[in-house]
Subunit: 243 residues, 2 copies
Amino acid sequence: MTQQLDAVRRTPLNRDRVLKAAVALADASGFDSLSMRRLADVLGVVPMALYKHVANKEELLDGMVASLIGEIDPPVPDADWKSAVRLRVLSARRALQRHPWARQAIESRTNKTPAVLDYMESFIGTFLTGGFTADLTHHVMHALGGRMWGFTQELFDEPAGTTAESPPDAPPEAQAAMFEQMAARYPNIVAIATSVRHDEGSVVGHGCDDQLEFEFALDLLLDGFERLREQGWSSRQARSDRS
Amino acid sequence: MTQQLDAVRRTPLNRDRVLKAAVALADASGFDSLSMRRLADVLGVVPMALYKHVANKEELLDGMVASLIGEIDPPVPDADWKSAVRLRVLSARRALQRHPWARQAIESRTNKTPAVLDYMESFIGTFLTGGFTADLTHHVMHALGGRMWGFTQELFDEPAGTTAESPPDAPPEAQAAMFEQMAARYPNIVAIATSVRHDEGSVVGHGCDDQLEFEFALDLLLDGFERLREQGWSSRQARSDRS
DNA sequence: AAGCTAGGTGTACGGGGTACACTTGTCAAG
DNA sequence: CTTGACAAGTGTACCCCGTACACCTAGCTT
């Protein structure tokens, strides 16, 4: 019986199981509560046991990001650059939405692992074979910034009207009062917050269509890229234009 | 004499001094080594003393961000929306470059402090008075994402060719070998990395002109905004276009 | 049988944020 | 002058974290 238990508990625990457990834990409890100790607990093992499979927490996070990249669809082969990029970015975005910890993980990383480099490599390739110069591609990659990962620095994480001082579970009349205050002090913010989705009958315009926002910016950039590419943009010319 | 020392040491230590010291410490030692304990040390005080002036570390960070916002130039009064936004963003960027910790601080914050709201409020106002609909402004703000803070999710923090496995202080022939490996495995990355600034004679194209990159993306977006505004873009129309 | 090795353990260290009870210096009211 | 309230600073302690290091143990190789 002791042997049976051992057999169960001691399914070897390799690097892969560690990574999978880390992803699951982060999925369930969030990036901040992913600690080596909690992870070890989940795996029924003592914290230091993890260090036989990952060098340290940094490497664990790198591995998690790598596994995330593995979930991103490869580039579709016979598409023009624009839809290829678009599809890939939206696939990355879906992966990110499945794993809410990913944004923080990516932002915390200094990148440069092979998995990340491979992803960028193939991403860049799509532009180059799409007729972009290396020069323009360089700038384009910068402009995409985090968006190539499928996220944007979000400015409105929560429904507008929720500030540090107003918990979302306040009584309705308090919320209404809060809204008045907001409207008085931040008329512009309230104006744009309520401008969207007023068709849903919510006064405060709860949240907005993140997907639409994301695609809005993405397409704006893609269209811009296209225009530059067509007019043979180069950084040398841009530099002299500016001076 | 004891009294003199006391007089010096005991300059009251108010919230403002705490924040200033925190900013100075973060400027000097980086975001990661800003701890309540180190901060207390710097101020010649015991850690818990800080909690008489800030509720907790979160609030300290919020205060630091607020002070950062204070360094951003107010919008220039008689400019068209485009140059007003452009100038303001570039001013924000300058503030961020003075305070390297700021990006991490901002990313770690859930925002929504009055200082942040004020900043956004006035930012949005520039678009609205510039003839943008609330609808379009909403999307525009999303598209700007982190850029309104003066930073982008950077993909190339370090010179290309520096990976986790190759310290920048390796002997030259090792670096050359590394470069060959990179070029073999990541031809696209190397292509775009070396495409810029090859006029400076560096093989690896050390770094790139961050400012240029930033303005490239910013202007791409601003031009896109302008086009949409001129053609009377609305999200309703965009939604039906897509379906 | 001997010994090597991979995987798991136990203990311990230095760091972090902060709760809570405490002293101390200052100043106004009695 | 005393008193006592209050704000500012202190000391101790708790629980969390990542991880260095010495150790044990099972199983396989020689």
